[in-house]
Symmetry: D2
Subunit: 346 residues, 4 copies
């Protein structure tokens, strides 16, 4: 069985593991106060071209989302995202468990627009009973989105401006950021994100680390006392240096971006094969997630040798499935998948 | 200016006030342990034809919703309601502030169906990642709904069965229950509600009391230790007897239902006038809220003498507005409104 | 049986009730947007000699404590009070239910000192692991305290300075403020409180209203968006005018202070009688609560005609009990209590 | 500089690391549904001599404490522990952030007694205003305690009985359990803990793992739906197999207990040296934490070559410090510390 289920099936990239092994017996202070965390933060500031950024390391994506949102918002304030946003549908109400409502706007491709943000803000302010409604204060977007689509620089500039104009924070979930920043057609850089977002994170868990997300704040008002909140929510790792060591390995020599390119190239190969066979994609993604619409009969055969995830039923005889590549995917396995798609389509 | 804005513009029905005045200097224990609360609870048990019900008194609707839901649910569990449910859109995230997500299903008329409940439950259980999604555990409905519509006994029987079959609690918000139980075509009784719901409440604030909601539990598992939760959420009134006294006045001689009938009759008169003039209703309500679709020009004139609330724009030249009657509305004022509607429609 | 159990056994002062009756059928906007709330706030600003104060009305003390504290603090911040503080021991964890820890310092008489505040702040900042400890950010005091003692102006000046110097908010719970400001030896005014506290409240529930607490903010940073928080926590009364009407009645002609003096004078009479009979007080109170240490045998006899509350056991043969007077206590009943104390002590 | 600061200064035991390296590229399902987690759970059930235990793996101690307590308690219920309990003083209010108060009882040595538990329960139930007070429902103890002391089997039997008799859950924090179960004089086994506690955990972070705590539930009522709560609180590791792999390495060949013995033996050597030099211990510990009372002058000298943590000042010229050994401490370093203590004491 060859797995294309997700991008967290293996441990970590060998170079990351090597650095963990090499530093294993060194003694360091706990809780992220070690020199590896400091170095990793410095790498990130350099890549973001901004020396004033606050950088903190957390273990996973849901944890990061809930700690950041809870740090930023007062009790009556809400996060606003796409109806398909991870915080809205796949985190067991983690944000609500900190007391904050998640407000949603419609989205077909996982993205939201500056106009939707402005409309939500104006609609809130102009409601006679606005104090009876959760106040939209933080915009949550992910890049790539849940559906593997990415924002253009122009879109992010507009979203950022809409947030600023309406007194809202912009928070970008970058759980798969490595795949987004290296996708074909991407024109966004880390420096852009640092400039346009109040806070964003660089995902390690899904891009080659054992675990870890690097949270980057350009807005110091919401990062004030952030370590208290990390601790309070159980997100301050005792051996915090594990996060620092891993992010050093990811960031010091461009490994993070190499892995992104590798996975995207293999996903492009799958997309090209599907197109050449006449199949449609559910959304026109450019990153490591391929959402393909395929006949039930073909999928039944395909599942005998390949593992993938179900997305949704499209019609009586077709459904959408997801093939996910990663830093760990091999050319041989992707070739095998493409060959099998060709064979089953004859 | 004549007001049809809402059903809480005045103080309370004179009979309620009289009882408050007459009992004012009596000394009683605090926090709802007085004999008036006991009597009021006994009246309600009698009307519900069930001696085993737990009855508690709270001050307002939002407070009642959040305390009941927090008492019933474990942290990962959610309340499921119509997208227009009061807890979803008009309580500033009060339920989320207790840590629980509000899940919603679509609804045009404020009502939801047994089928929607079953689908939500089945969809949750059958999701591969169900533990990553808030668990729908309590169904929240209101009767009348936000749009003044009411459930039939048949619908409630089906909803109750769907809840039972799927291990969910049924909670009915009766903030305007007095108007619902006395509406034309209603076939539901308090005894039905006590039989079909795990918990429901009889609203006083909008039906003739200064304030107060009587919460009725048939499911003792969720009412266990309820008074602790009332206190914790700031909902245990020091002079709790004020709630007992008022609900005695409402319940002991049928006053609650008389007031409901009075308001509904006046609302029916408005509806009949609108229909005779060829205007549509946004929803075909039968209770004290009338949602009328009227021309902008007419509304502009009408607003010179009458006050009402905006609901939504319907098209370029029409919008929907709400006229709300109550126990305090007078025949003369309703006649004046109807006459003016006729005059402006010529 | 004559009751000295507490100061919330009756309804409200006849003058308050009269105003409720006289305004009952007037139509007003809901949720505290009516002219009575505006007038009551104006009275309070005038008495506080500060036109810039934000004034809001809530229903009860626990509700007020939890909404104010939740409005003021970020998630990792705590309220600091006496170990006997109401929020620490008698509100079923209401503050914790909003996510905030209550930190406590020792106190024999219900009061805390500027030095204790400074020590707590310094101790926190100087702890190596300070981020692992809740941050003391708001000082909570009550005046009168749980034990009926009051702060001097000098003490409040020092406490306020200690808070300012350490970046902490000062919040004064005035659930029984009317009894404190009119006590013998008191040198504190409403204007002092408005000047020295970030927020405080004027209690109505225990001083002659049916219910109601008037929250007064001099610090606008923590009152920003306060009405959202009131709504979110179920503390925004639909018929908010009931609070405005009552506080007008309390404040417009000095009624609030007359009631305080009345109750204190009767409590002084009880204290004088106890002293003349050679009994001790648990604490040397000056307000409407008398904490007397009396022999078990005497208390057994006394309980046959008088009702009071148990405080604590003092030794094998004595315990402390509380006699509470109020605006509603009569001279005749207090004379009867004092006579009986004399008779049983012979 | 030689470090005796804590037991989480290094990475993990080489055998644990080896297993992580060897399994790194294996593909497994995420979120703890892999076969390593299943195997590790089976090892733990075997060692606990109970096939029916629910075992879950979390990342760190604070996270474990907050998720377990939140899973077990209804909103008005509190955890009861020693005043020095980690959840009370060193987790930034993590438990309160889930809405629950932490109640405390006095303790000199970090331990609490069955009698204290019973007294707390009886005191709560017998309070007239019990519904105004957080309900003590779960007893939280740690073994070893914060001060390195351990419970005897007899003490745990009594505590467990006191909990059962009063309807309370017993939760044992075993962040350093490996050091406790292998200490001189210990007579408690894993099987005892599984029998006596409703839930406890086996700490990995401080005993040789990179991170990880194994939570063991014998009470299925509180473990129901536990994975939802893990996810909701950001505690469900995407690559959950990292926890399974590590706990397999710790448990499959007795490594966990070997490491405990090693650290305790070295700590005993330090204790013996201190005693032979006439110094006192702050508490008579038997595990890997040594709390020594030493002269300021000696500590000043000692700090030039050795790193340790400050505990508290004892008198004008002495203070208590902590030396902490671990699985990673070497005989040579402990010899060096003991020699220096001897040298500086001449």
């Amino acid at each position: 069985m060859i797995y294309f289920n997700n991008d967290y099936s293996e441990g970590c990239h060998p170079a990351v593991l090597r650095k963990l092994v090499n530093t294993n017996l060194e003694q360091t202070p706990g809780y992220g106060m070690d020199h590896y965390c400091a170095e990793a933060a410095a790498h990130i500031r350099r890549l973001c071209e901004n020396d004033a950024l606050d950088v903190h390391f957390l273990v996973g994506g849901t944890q990061t989302n809930l700690v950041v949102i809870d740090a930023a918002l007062r009790p009556h304030q809400a996060a606003l995202g796409a109806v398909s946003a991870h915080i809205n549908v796949h985190e067991t109400g983690a944000v609500e468990a900190t007391g904050h409502k998640v407000l949603s706007v419609s989205s077909d491709d996982g993205k939201i627009t500056a106009q939707q943000i402005t409309e939500a803000a104006v609609s809130h302010r102009s409601d006679e009973a606005f104090e009876h409604i959760s106040q939209p204060k933080m915009v949550y977007i992910s890049n790539p989105t849940e559906l593997g689509t990415i924002y253009t620089l122009q879109e992010l500039e507009e979203i950022s401006a809409a947030c600023r104009d309406n007194g809202m924070y912009l928070f970008l979930d970058g759980a798969r950021l490595g795949y987004g920043l290296t996708a074909q057609g991407n024109d966004v850089t880390l420096a852009d994100l640092a400039r346009l977002c109040d806070v964003f994170y660089i995902g390690g868990t899904k891009v080659g680390a054992l675990f870890g997300e690097a949270v980057v704040f350009s807005n110091h008002a919401i990062s004030e006392d952030f370590r208290y909140l990390m601790k309070q929510h159980g997100g301050m790792l005792a051996k915090g240096r594990l996060l620092g060591v891993q992010f050093c390995a990811l960031m010091e020599n461009g490994l993070y971006f190499e892995m992104g390119k590798h996975a995207n190239r293999l996903a492009d190969q799958i997309r090209d094969t599907l197109k050449s066979l006449g199949y449609s994609l559910l959304v026109p993604g450019v990153t490591n997630q391929v959402f393909a619409i395929l006949p039930d009969a073909l999928l039944e055969e395909l599942a005998k040798r390949f593992s993938f995830t179900e997305q949704c039923r499209v019609n009586d005889r077709h459904r959408a499935v997801r093939f996910c590549t990663s830093w760990a995917s091999t050319q041989a396995n992707v070739d095998a998948l493409c060959d099998e798609l060709v064979r089953l389509s004859k």
